[in-house]
């Protein structure tokens, strides 16, 4: 099976430089059969990054991509708290750079319309849009989106595909929350490999709306691959989840950039 990993970071992995860390990730990915990695956020994370932090973190990813562009795709890290800088980072890293997606994390909940100019421009560029979400029993961060917040955003952009990061973590809730919003896709990454996540997602969303990701290096590739390898679903559905859905979403921007994959 072809496997593309939607969700990787340069943290939690050995290496003194961004390119060393991405090289390490690729080394481990090779052991478990992963062909391509999507990478976002830099060496030093910030939950509520300043405008300059965004630029520095994106610089790290650009540097890592320069050495490993045949194995990795980059997503630009943006924040609705810094719309102007985010839009300029989009131009720098996606329009004029090698990146092909957008990462939105926990600085500002995504139901706030402040985020709309970022989504609008990313959609124009056909960039893949990824929004972190969780439903935490232990309470979310102040700026951390839930899948419900993402549904509110997705309703404002019904033609734009958007990925629901972590499927909300508590996936029984996340899957239900996004089920009726057909432009939302479920990212399987970054929660424990609890049995049933993929079976429920396939049943409720359909295999066409599910994408494999790991959240490595903090997570092992292994535990997250197991959600698909171990699921009681067809091999055809596994192939969609492991690669085809993400690849299809990404193909327009890859073609526009002349990238073959």
């Amino acid at each position: 099976m072809r496997i593309w990993d939607l969700h990787c970071h340069l943290s939690g992995v050995a290496g003194l430089t961004p390119e060393e860390r991405l090289g390490s990730l690729i080394k481990y990915a090779d052991r478990v059969g992963i062909e391509r990695l999507c990478v976002y956020m830099g060496m030093k994370w910030a939950q509520d990054p300043s405008a300059d932090d965004l630029g520095k973190q994106n610089d790290d990813v650009l540097r890592a991509l320069e050495k490993h562009k045949d194995r990795a795709f980059g997503f630009v890290y943006l924040s609705a708290k810094h719309v102007e800088r985010s839009l300029s980072e989009l131009e720098r890293c996606v329009t004029n750079g090698p990146m092909v997606g957008v990462k939105l994390w926990v600085a500002q909940r995504c139901n706030d319309p402040m985020i709309d100019p970022i989504i609008k421009r990313a959609a124009e560029l056909k960039a893949v849009i990824f929004q972190h979400t969780w439903f935490k029993t232990t309470a979310n961060y102040a700026g951390e989106s839930t899948p419900d917040d993402l549904v509110a955003l997705a309703k404002r952009f019904p033609e734009v595909p958007i990925i629901c990061g972590h499927t909300g973590g508590t996936w029984e809730l996340g899957i239900r929350a996004i089920r009726e919003q057909k432009n939302l896709f479920a990212d399987l990454a970054g929660s424990d490999p609890t049995w049933g996540i993929t079976e429920m997602a396939v049943r409720e969303l359909g295999a066409d709306r599910i994408i494999y990701g790991s959240d490595s290096g903090g997570r092992s590739f292994a535990s997250q691959l197991a959600k698909v390898h171990g699921a009681q679903i067809s091999d055809a559905d596994k192939q969609k989840i492991f690669c085809d859905n993400l690849r299809n979403m990404m193909l327009p921007i890859l073609k526009a950039k002349g990238i073959q994959a």
Binding site: E35, R71, T137, W195, S220, A226
Partner: protein, 272 residues
């Protein structure tokens, strides 16, 4: 497609069947399984077919019923009956030292059911490993030649039912408790890397499983700070997809000795 990409894809395709590769060491002890109904999830049954398909030669199984039931004698009886369905299954009974007359449950595990070990859930049952009652239980279990499994956690706190929130067990007092029972042999299940590098540092006679070891190449990395003869294969199935633990062995580069020890030899040594 360029040559490098072709080679990468070829490697990916050839890596995938490693889960069932014929060249892996024969014999696998999975020391961390549960049977019976889970309180919040409908999970697949661990049966002979499940074990045979995955080449699990020995499966140490506790009961999910032990988490909340108070009639622990009946829980352990049902567990033994469930395990009779497969020669690969080995029942690991539970004892809750907060229940009156817990000593009877302990004795039945050893003398009637001939179990080699028991499984404890301190935070589900309302005690800590610093409590006197844990010291008493460890002492009595050791006298009966029972090994003791301590379940450090069962589920990420962030995803637990709001009506049943159970934090991870504080393992820091374990080393001190075990010093008072030097012959005791303890296996901690579902410990994560943070617990191991802080709370369990310096513990001797403690075995671990790999079910909740996370991070890229997690097993390989753990062995830089934890003795290779005290790490065992444990999947936490069916709560976790079993393939998670199997793929962790593939994601880490391990020597043949390390592979054999984790898959089989270290678990046997715990029982020996």
């Amino acid at each position: 497609m360029n040559r490098r990409l072709f080679l990468t894809q070829a490697a990916a395709v050839s890596a995938a069947p490693l889960l069932t590769a014929a060249d892996k060491p024969s014999g696998l002890v999975d020391c961390n399984l549960h049977l019976g109904p889970h309180p919040t999830r409908a999970l697949p049954e661990i049966d002979e077919a499940f074990l045979a398909k995955r080449d699990i030669t020995e499966a140490w199984a506790g009961s999910f019923e032990a988490l909340l039931h108070r009639d622990m004698g009946a829980v352990n009886e049902r567990l033994v009956k469930r395990c009779a369905a497969s020669s690969r299954l080995s029942a690991v009974g539970s004892v809750n030292p907060r229940l009156p007359a817990w000593q009877t449950d302990l004795r039945l595990c050893a003398e009637k059911h001939r179990m080699p070990m028991i499984r404890l859930y301190p935070n589900h049952h309302g005690y800590t490993v610093a409590d006197d009652v844990f010291a008493q239980l460890l002492t009595e279990a050791t006298k009966l030649k029972l090994r003791v499994q301590i379940v450090a956690q069962l589920e990420d706190q962030r995803t637990q039912s709001p009506l049943m929130q159970v934090p991870p067990v504080d393992l820091k007092p374990l080393a001190e408790a075990m010093k008072k029972v030097p012959e005791s042999r303890v296996m901690v299940l579902n410990a994560n890397a943070s617990m191991i590098t802080t709370a369990l540092r310096g513990c001797t006679n403690v075995w671990l499983d790999i079910a909740m070891i996370e991070g890229v190449a997690g097993v390989e990395n753990l062995l830089t700070s934890w003795p290779a003869d005290k790490l065992c294969f444990g999947s936490h199935a069916p709560f976790f997809y079993w393939e998670s633990a199997a793929l962790k062995m593939q994601e880490s580069v391990l020597t043949e000795d390390q592979q054999n020890g984790i898959r089989l030899g270290n678990a046997r040594a715990l029982l020996g």
